[in-house]
């Protein structure tokens, strides 16, 4: 279970792996914005072509990307099916009560599916090629301008690192507590609705108490080692913006121009 959350990163030395994490973060968000420019088949084709190119550059097997799609597959299918049945316009193929299948509905269903797949592939690419703490670090440096409006950037990035570090620990703990309570006769999956909901009380209380205790220990340890906030703290790994980062930005610029041209075609 823990592997799913933190073991997503696949070490490598491809061009995509070596990109500055800040560039990767910004560009993957930018890509998601561009997806919404697509409004016809040729523009979706261009996006898929671009996506395939980046996947080739990252040298990661396509199977890993489908793994990213899998947890969302029901969400996607649900959205697509509702889109198909509730849209109106175009030729009507089938009709029953408020439900109808029309040509517009089918096309927009397929578009929605493509959009989901593209977005998931791109965010999977980011987490597959960048270690979690690098993403946290990149986020910290990208959010820095927000310090002017008193957004606690260092605090947030420290919270993020603490959470990433302790999720596996607390996940283990939660499973242990569940087993401990089962051995005492708590039944999580039987009984009436109220009984099942009540069964979470002996799970949540120990879990939160344990989290609070760990937080106190961690604070003591940090204070003892002289933690004085993020201001002036140095880093072991310093991000460097290199020419291939600029190059990838240019590639995205070209993609944007292509999308705008195809859109009005």
């Amino acid at each position: 279970m823990n592997k799913i959350l933190l073991g997503r990163y696949l070490p490598g030395s491809s061009l995509i792996h070596r990109l500055d994490p800040r560039a990767k973060l910004l560009l993957s968000f930018y890509f998601i914005i561009i997806i919404f420019l697509a409004n016809n088949w040729s523009s979706y084709f261009l996006l898929f072509f671009f996506m395939a190119l980046t996947i080739l550059l990252a040298k990661i097997k396509i199977g890993f990307f489908w793994k990213g799609v899998r947890p969302l597959i029901w969400l996607i299918l649900f959205t697509v099916v509702l889109q198909i049945f509730f849209s109106t316009g175009g030729t009507v193929y089938w009709h029953w009560g408020i439900l109808s299948v029309t040509s517009t509905g089918l096309v927009s269903g397929i578009y929605v599916f493509c959009r989901f797949v593209l977005i998931i592939f791109m965010s999977t690419l980011l987490t597959l090629t960048t270690p979690p703490l690098e993403i946290a670090g990149a986020m910290e440096s990208l959010l820095k301008p927000l310090k002017k409006v008193h957004f606690p950037v260092y605090e947030v990035s420290l919270m993020l690192s603490i959470a990433l570090r302790f999720v596996p620990t607390l996940m283990d703990e939660a499973l242990k507590i569940m087993n401990a309570q089962r051995s005492r006769g708590v039944n999580f999956d039987q009984g009436s609705l109220m009984q099942r909901l009540k069964a979470v009380v002996p799970l949540l209380i120990p879990l939160f108490v344990s989290a609070f205790n760990r937080a106190e220990d961690l604070a003591t340890a940090m204070e003892a080692r002289g933690y004085h906030g993020g201001e002036g703290r140095t880093k072991y790994r310093v991000h460097q913006w290199l020419y291939h980062d600029t190059l990838s930005c240019l590639a995205f610029l070209a993609l944007t121009i292509g999308m705008l041209l195809l859109r009005n075609w």
Binding site: M1, L5, L25, F29, P71, L72, L75, I76, F78, T79, L82, Q83, F86, S87, I98, R115, F116, I119, I120, S123, T124, L126, T127, I135, M139, E155, V156, L158, M159, L160, S161, I162, A163, F166, M171, A174, M178, F188, D189, L193, M194, R196, L197, V200, V201, L203, L204, I205, L207, F208, V209, A211, F212, A215, E216, L218, A219, E223, H228, G229
Partner: protein
Amino acid sequence: MNKNQIQRITINGMLLAVMIVCSQLTIPIPIVPITLQTFAVGLIASLLPVWDGLEVIIVYLLLGTLGFPVFANFSGGLAVFLGPTGGYLLSFLVYQLVTAGLLKKFGRQLPVLLAANCLGALLNLLIGSVWITWVLKISFIKAMLIGFVPFLLPGLLKIIVILPIVKRLAPLTLGRQAG
């Protein structure tokens, strides 16, 4: 930085981790299985001061947006916000603001806790349904039938279950933190 300040950050970080863990734990209930995610949101809103809780939720949503699989069933990424459940996630912020804000204003007696949580949860469901209207382009009434009505009873029961937990945990947080 003194220890109280550091501890405020470590508590927030740890509760963020708890929130992520809770999103992956499901209670099997026929038709609509519930994750412990909403329990965690309710507890955070009832236990933490307004801004601390808000920080936890913001960073949780941010992590999910970045593509970490922190949402229910190890899903993550911006795609989730495009789906029908995106509104519920975003309106956790409103839940936190409303519930923690009311608690700060009117104190933490049992009736206030109950009312504040109910209001927060109702707004959560309402915004979630409006989001569904927008994402699926269906009428508001239909969206309410899908996204609001079926969750009313489980939602209320959930709050009733949360209350004793808050009572038990409150001394742990509020004694240590000024808020």
